[in-house]
Every structure is written in structure tokens, then in C-alpha cells.
């Protein structure tokens, strides 16, 4: 059972390393894009709100695999293709995940009662103080657990890149198939690999949930 892993160690190592890179890069990018979209959705400008709503509703009702297919096969036809498969996969994951992050950010801001900032303004805080001392800390408390769920989903979603010949962890079975290795043992090792990556995130999420729960 161990020989499957040890004989093909470079394949597993490189695969999971690519998975981690995909996860981190598209995680950071989707946090940025998603927060921006979330800000759009709570902004006083109707057109920005409309754009945010449209983006979220379209992307959340589209299969991620279709987003991948569009970027991998479609975008090239308009010469809009990203430079290499890694960045194309990052693009697909970011476009999709940021819709979910946008929702988290929006609902986080919406959980705070307007009275909170009204009171803060009444005691003479500036907009910046209201934002950093009153609104954001409360919003973060509401946001962190669902944000972790989105990131966990993102980590699992990186496997879809395997269907588009990006050699991350999800692509290991196909490569092992060519080597004639035992597929189920391969999958077992990949499962263990993902559990090693995901379980700490789950515990972190639980911890954050307890930490940030309203007493």
C-alpha cells in the first residue's frame, strides 16, 4: 500500500504542491475580487449594486466546470486566453469563488444594525473610525466562519482543473492509470492528502465560530 505512494512520490508531491498553489493564489485573488463585489453590492450607487447582483446570480447558477470550459476552450477563440493553464485555472476558480465571497461580505455588512454606526457618528467618530472601530470588527465576526466554508470549497474545487490537463492533485489518478498502478490505492492516498489539507481548515473554522460567537 505504501509503495504506491513512495514509488510515485514526485507525482504526488508535485500534484499537491500545484493544488496548494492554485488554492492560495486563487484564494487571495477571490478574496480581493469578492470583497470588491461585496462593496459594490452595499454601495449607494444603483448601477454598482445591479452589476454585483447580476454577477452573483449568473456565476452562482453556472457550473464551475462550465466556467473552466469557457476559459480553456472558448476564450482562446477570442484571443483572450490567459498565458498558461495554471493562470487559466486560477482565473476560473477566482471568477467563480468571488461570487460566493461577495455574498458572504454582503451578508456580513448587512448583519450590523444601522443604529451601530448612527451611535458612533453621534459620539463624533469620523467615517474612517466608524468603519474600523465599529463596523468592520463586527462584520468580521459574522464573516469568518462562512468565509472559511467558501475557502474549503475552493480547495476542493481545485480538483476540477484535472479535467483540463492541469497537473494538480486531481490529475494524479489519470497519470497513475498510465503507469498501471492500483487506482483505488492512488485515490486513497489522494483522499488522505486532501484530508490533511482540509481538516485543519475545518478545525480552524470551528474554532473561529466558537471564538466569534455572540455571547
Amino acid at each position: 500500500m505504501f509503495s504506491v505512494l513512495t514509488d510515485n512520490w514526485p507525482l504526488f508531491r508535485d500534484g499537491f504542491w500545484l493544488t496548494i498553489r492554485l488554492f492560495v493564489v486563487s484564494g487571495v485573488l477571490s478574496l480581493v475580487l469578492g470583497t470588491l463585489l461585496g462593496a459594490f453590492r452595499v454601495s449607494p450607487v444603483p448601477a454598482l449594486r445591479g452589476f454585483g447582483t447580476g454577477y452573483v446570480n449568473i456565476l452562482r447558477n453556472t457550473p464551475l466546470t462550465l466556467v473552466f470550459a469557457f476559459l480553456f476552450f472558448g476564450a482562446a477563440k477570442m484571443q483572450l486566453a490567459l498565458p498558461n493553464p495554471f493562470w487559466t485555472a486560477v482565473g476560473a476558480l477566482t471568477i467563480y469563488t468571488s461570487a460566493f465571497i461577495c455574498e458572504v461580505v454582503r451578508s456580513g455588512v448587512n448583519t450590523i444594525a444601522p443604529g451601530q454606526s448612527e451611535a458612533a457618528r453621534a459620539v463624533g467618530m469620523s467615517f474612517f473610525q466608524v468603519l474600523t472601530i465599529v463596523v468592520l470588527p463586527q462584520a468580521f465576526r459574522a464573516i469568518i466562519p462562512p468565509l472559511m466554508s467558501v475557502l474549503i470549497a475552493l480547495l476542493k474545487n481545485t480538483t476540477i482543473a484535472a479535467g483540463f490537463s492541469v497537473a494538480e492533485a486531481g490529475a494524479i489518478p489519470a497519470a497513475m492509470s498510465e503507469r498501471g498502478e492500483n487506482q483505488l490505492l492512488t485515490l486513497l492516498w489522494i483522499t488522505i492528502g486532501f484530508l490533511i489539507l482540509i481538516v485543519p481548515l475545518i478545525f480552524l473554522q470551528r474554532w473561529a465560530e466558537r471564538r466569534t460567537a455572540v455571547a
Partner: protein, 289 residues
């Protein structure tokens, strides 16, 4: 309109908002125009790329793909609901030896990427010659993952019923089975319904993973169709058509979920029923894969 971030706009803020509104609309329309121009320049509106959709055979092919998608989604939905019900029941059991393994299984299937779950059945079938096609790999993968998420939804729905209900039922001398079946479930179901429906949206979307393990669902058909030289590789037209179908189907289900959520929220005001569970699409609950 007042929000936590800004106050009800005064005359100057109103003017400012109106101006930014116009600027944003112009920028968005500009971006859209650029995209359409880009498609035009690269010949995406040429007749021959779109002509294929006029043929009966192509329409049939798309329809066949859609049916395959719906077939897998439908069967997986039924099986996942069953799986969810059984495991939710096991998770609220009074016996530790039932509860612990059920919890472990549910947590495990929620943590493993869905594609890997499908791979188990796909490659397992090849290795042991089980005679299960990619269809079953898709259905079983979807069942295990969504069933586990549904089990959590069911459990949370039952837990959300106010405690007094259960206490009163026990006080009347009902057994646990009766308490759950007669008192808790009927109230929980209306609270769970929106979350269940939006989990089914996730399930429907995830059938598109079948594309990777060569199950002939809609996206798989679209990929084949887009790769046809005779029509000049009409990837973009085909994916646009496919996207419209997916987004239409999922939006309808999402709308249903939202309607159910609104309804149970209204009912709650009147009857004090348990609050609706957060929609799974708002990713507080399961993973929006």
C-alpha cells in the same frame, strides 16, 4: 435608503450618486461593447458558427445531453435525500455506537472533493469490472456528497425547532420516535425546505463534473459540439447556449428556494415556527462546489 455604511443621502450626495451611477453604466456598457466587438472581430458571429443549431440532429444531441444531466441529477437527488434522511436519523440517535460512525461518515464525505468521490466509482469500476458506467459514478458521487450535506441540513432543521416543543412532547409521554416523527419533523420540514432546494441546485450544477469522467451530459455534449471543424470550432456559441440552459434551470430552482424562504419567514411571524435555515448557496452550510 439608510444602511450601516452611509446615511440617507442629502441633496449633494444624491447628485454625486447620480453622477457615479451614469459613469458606472457607461463603463459597464463600454466593457460589454468591447467584449462583443472582440467576439465580432474574431468571427464569433459568423453564420456558420451558429448555423449548426438550426439542425434537428444537433438540437436532438443537446436535448439528449440535457436529459442525461437531468437523469443523473434526478436519481442522485432521490438517493441523496434518502441517504441524508438515514444519516440524519443516525446522527441524532441516542446510541453512541450509531451516532459516532454516522458522524464520521458524514464529515468524511463532506471533506473529500466530489470529483475524487466520483473517481472512486469510475476507476473502481474499471479495476474490478463492476459493469457500472460513468453514469453511476456521477450518481453515486453526487449521492454521497450531497447526501452528507443534506444529513447536516436535516439535523440542523430538527435542532432548530424550539426546545419547548420537544419537552412538551416528552412530557406527554411520547417516545423519542414519536417526538421526532409527529412533533419535530413536521415543523422542521418547512424550515429546511429552502436549504434543501438550494442544495439540489448545487447537485444539479455538479452533474457537470460528469464531463471529466466522460459521462455524456450537457457539458460533455457541448464540448464535442464546440470541437467540430466543419463549423469552425464553434466553442463560444455552444458554451453560450449551454450556459443559458444551465443558468435558466438553476435560477428557476434558486427562485423556488428564495420563494420558500420568504414564505417560511412570513409564516414564522404568525406562528413562531422555527426560522428557515440559511440557504446552502449562501455558503454558511455546505460547500458550494
Amino acid at each position: 435608503m439608510s444602511s450601516v455604511l452611509y446615511e440617507t443621502p442629502g441633496p449633494r450626495a444624491k447628485v454625486r450618486n447620480r453622477i457615479s451611477n451614469v459613469v458606472v453604466v457607461v463603463v459597464l456598457l463600454g466593457a460589454l461593447a468591447w467584449l462583443i466587438h472582440r467576439m465580432y472581430v474574431h468571427g464569433q458571429f459568423e453564420g456558420r458558427l451558429w448555423r449548426q443549431f438550426e439542425y434537428k440532429a444537433i438540437q436532438k444531441e443537446l436535448l439528449h445531453g440535457l436529459l442525461n444531466t437531468l437523469k443523473a441529477a434526478g436519481l442522485a437527488a432521490v438517493l441523496a435525500l434518502l441517504f441524508g434522511a438515514v444519516f440524519a436519523a443516525a446522527r441524532i440517535s441516542d446510541h453512541k455506537w450509531v451516532r459516532t460512525p454516522a458522524t464520521l461518515i458524514v464529515e468524511l464525505f463532506r471533506a473529500v472533493p466530489l470529483l475524487i468521490l466520483m473517481f472512486y466509482f469510475y476507476f473502481g469500476n474499471i479495476q474490478f469490472n463492476l459493469g457500472l458506467g460513468p453514469f453511476w459514478a456521477v450518481v453515486f458521487g453526487l449521492t454521497l456528497y450531497n447526501g452528507s450535506v443534506l444529513a447536516e441540513i436535516f439535523r440542523a432543521g430538527i435542532a432548530a425547532v424550539p426546545k419547548g416543543q420537544r419537552e412538551a412532547a416528552y412530557a406527554l409521554g411520547l417516545r423519542k420516535n414519536q417526538v421526532v416523527r409527529l412533533v419535530l419533523l413536521p415543523q422542521a420540514i418547512s424550515a429546511m425546505l429552502p436549504a434543501i432546494v438550494s442544495q439540489l441546485v448545487v447537485l444539479l450544477k455538479d452533474t457537470a463534473l460528469g464531463f471529466i469522467i466522460t459521462y455524456g451530459e450537457l457539458l460533455y455534449v457541448a464540448k464535442q459540439m464546440g470541437g467540430r471543424l466543419g463549423y469552425g470550432f464553434p466553442y463560444i456559441p455552444t458554451y453560450i447556449v449551454t450556459a443559458v440552459i444551465y443558468i435558466g434551470l438553476c435560477s428557476l430552482l434558486s427562485l423556488l428556494a428564495r420563494y420558500l424562504e420568504g414564505r417560511s419567514r412570513r409564516r414564522r411571524k404568525i406562528t413562531g415556527a422555527p426560522p428557515p435555515l440559511p440557504l446552502t448557496n449562501d455558503p454558511g452550510q455546505g460547500a458550494p462546489i
